[in-house]
Symmetry: C2
Subunit: 230 residues, 2 copies
Amino acid sequence: MENKENGVVLRPIAYIRTDFTEKFGIPRQSGRAPSLLGRIIFTPEYRNDDALRGITGYTYLWLIFDFTQSHMAGWSPTVRPPRLGGNRRMGVFATRSPFRPNPLGLSCVKLEGLEKTPQGTIIHVSGVDILDNTPIYDIKPYLPHADCKPDAAGGFSDTQTGYHLEVDFPEELLTVLPEEKRTAAVECLADDPRPSYQNDDREYSMSFAGYDIHFHVADGVLTVTGVDVL
Amino acid sequence: MENKENGVVLRPIAYIRTDFTEKFGIPRQSGRAPSLLGRIIFTPEYRNDDALRGITGYTYLWLIFDFTQSHMAGWSPTVRPPRLGGNRRMGVFATRSPFRPNPLGLSCVKLEGLEKTPQGTIIHVSGVDILDNTPIYDIKPYLPHADCKPDAAGGFSDTQTGYHLEVDFPEELLTVLPEEKRTAAVECLADDPRPSYQNDDREYSMSFAGYDIHFHVADGVLTVTGVDVL
């Protein structure tokens, strides 16, 4: 970290490993796919168990991370949230869009536990919505008395809270996936990976955990048509 | 914003104006002093009403800001939270301490409204816990379905949630403050500005909104003994 002409230079303290190597399919917000796991691996400089003392007393953690795929030369004051069908423009500061003046993401993930490994102590989390190998700039505990606001109105996002697709994942295809990945895969598909509410008969493909999951959507039902090993 | 050797350079999009020009007295978390106001003033490049389209549909906003007074050459894996008396060490990632590897602060503030001014449209917020003139790197809406976790355990911070001091602010001193500042001043004093739970007869002084508020604490009661114009 250093000052730089009225700004700041951030250095990654860690990277998160997840099952998404492409943006397509990543849940729209943290917690949408509660079974989706991540592993936070510290960079060598920050591998220090003392820095984690007390952390297991918390249920959730905030991650401030780099919107790696969204670095831009300039900025746009408006974005088109996929949840509004991709054709209504909202102010960037009224959204959690990755396309922001400073490319910082903020996610609330569930702390599943710590594990000592040859790469230092890693943090297991769930409910992630982050691309594999994303740089993490900060980890903070979720403080319920400061961070939990039951009276909060959620703007345009409120109308989409309950939205999900029914998922038809035939048994013989589902069992191609390792057992521990199946629930998360279904959760991500139910969250509707398509860029907007397209009602078309297009074939889509979601890369997940080393597999390509092919599907199409009709009448609110997402049907998986094939699973390939990548 | 630019990439820089596996990190990122952040530029302020705005500055927040608050009634605290010194750290002493700033509430320990956002929301602890609900009447404490702030004004977010965008830098000329980001004065663009389109960027705020839809924002008034939200009750709360996240601010990611610079811990200006905490820039350090190195980092320390542990910190001593004032709420633990200042003598127990916790891991930095188990706290919201400003002394972190990347000096980013995260606060949830209440959106009070927008105002068109000669400095562009400014955002009025309340419940702040941020130093005057702090650079803001990002503003995001608080999404209740993703951010509100009623089942969250709050680690060591849980034990201190209800802590506050009784405040004895004699009428003739309180009325020295402008009327609209009085409630916030009392809230900040009730949050106990002292660096830790010192039980001493020391005289303290809190700079607030252009005034020096002198006080001492005995038996859980904070008594204001003088108010000077700065």
